[in-house]
Amino acid sequence: MSKLHITTTVNGDPAEFLCEADDSLLAALRGPLGLTGTKEGCGSGDCGACTVMLDGSMVCSCLVLAAEAQGRRVETVEGLAEGGALHPLQQRFLEHGALQCGFCTPGLLVAARALLERNPDPSEEEARYWLAGNLCRCTGYDKVIRAVLDAGRDLRQDHGEKVA
């Protein structure tokens, strides 16, 4: 069987790749596209390590076929930092030490950014529910949640400055 030729947009740039019909988007990102920031944890949609944005909504890339990305917009953890400047979420994760092994971190960052874009001032409870599909098996969630809430504060402040 010949491979499928997929053209898509990844982190704002046009991208194309070849895949088998049953390849996951996760496999295409990590393989032909060379974007290994997105991790495979469970491969069954339970852990959230492979979270990416697809046309603006967060999904488990292990549960998306690579071929489904045709003509869509994909955003991965590699798109968070702008040039050399870390995203406030990345900066706050560092400051809080909100990780140990780091395997869940890319998925948590993508999911947390989706939360803050939708609601820049979430309560702790809202943040915990929103991130319920992102499992961390090392350190627990306390530092993660503190980092997310702090990053929300940073983003609100940035926005306030721009408006002012």
Binding site: A21, G45, V59, L65, Q70, A132
Partner: protein, 289 residues
């Protein structure tokens, strides 16, 4: 060159042609189909993606009711204020499935056709009196949602048929619905028991119609008509609730598995049904619930 085993047609006619191939499976959100395929439990010869077909996506008003494209992600339900106001029980059921990531893909059509007895949205849809629009080689037919599941992982769909839309009737005046489920954790878990309730109260608080449906207590989601009938004509007094519980107890056939014992499921089914009716009644009276 053999046809691609993945296709994403933009019209229903083409999708039906592709879905008619032996062994083809219809792909909506993929949150069950892709997992089962990778695990080797299913071996589809082709996957026909419905998500580029307009009718399969989005929520549309239909008179005072609603048409929900079968592949519409669950999160879209919560974002539709009119649907939330009319059928909060259906929306809360769809909002309990998996994580945000999963709900951004998982759909009502997929939840129904995956035919898990524990599917959260199915009892809520049944209670609400929803129908499924089934498209196939012979045309389209509209059937009650409860007519689709046939057993764990099995449906009554004929080969080549697929569900393209779910339809919800208008919320009746004095109507209210609710869905409650029990899981050991609050998120990312599968129902031990789920109960959907929809009822109508007249101005004096007397129940004029009621539908009670349960999940995870039988091989399919179960409409217990006798449970609803026990409430009709009453003001939901203790005796009426007791009669409803007796009807539920007689109708269900729960099993022991890793999530719960049959005896526990039986007990919880009654607890949840009582609470779901109370919640639906509060909504019927216009209270926040």
């Amino acid at each position: 060159m053999p046809p691609s085993p993945y296709s994403a047609p933009d019209n229903l006619g083409e999708a039906l042609g592709l879905a008619a191939a032996p062994g083809a499976r219809v792909l909506a959100g993929g949150t069950d189909l892709l997992i089962q395929t990778r695990a080797g439990r299913l071996a589809p010869t082709a996957m026909v993606d419905l998500k580029r077909i307009d009718r399969a996506m989005g929520i549309r008003p239909a008179g005072q009711g609603f048409v929900i494209g079968a592949a519409t992600p669950c999160t879209a339900l919560r974002d539709d204020a009119a649907l939330v106001a009319a059928w909060p029980g259906v929306v809360e059921a769809a909002s309990l499935i998996g994580s945000v990531q999963v709900r951004n893909r998982a759909s009502l059509g997929g939840n129904l056709c995956n035919a898990s007895p524990a599917a959260d949205s199915v009892p809520a849809l049944i209670a609400a009196g929803a129908t499924a629009v089934v498209a196939g080689p012979g045309g389209e037919r509209e059937v009650p949602v409860e007519a689709i599941p046939a057993g764990p992982g099995r449906t009554t769909l004929a080969p080549g048929e697929l569900v393209i839309e779910l339809r919800l009737p208008p919320r009746p005046p004095g109507g209210g619905d609710a869905y409650l489920r029990l899981t050991p954790r609050t998120e990312m878990d599968i129902a031990v028991v789920g109960v959907g309730a929809a009822l109508v109260l007249d101005g004096s608080g007397r129940c004029t119609a009621a539908r009670i449906a349960l999940g995870a207590v039988a091989p399919t989601a179960l409409l217990v008509e006798a449970a609803g009938a026990a409430l009709v004509g009453t003001k939901l007094e203790e005796g009426a609730i007791a009669a409803m519980l007796a009807a539920i107890d007689a109708a269900i056939s729960p099993i022991d598995d890793q999530r719960a014992s049959a005896a526990y499921r039986r007990r919880i089914a009654g607890v949840l049904a009582t609470r779901a009716v109370a919640r639906a009644a509060a909504r019927a009276r216009g209270e926040q619930a």
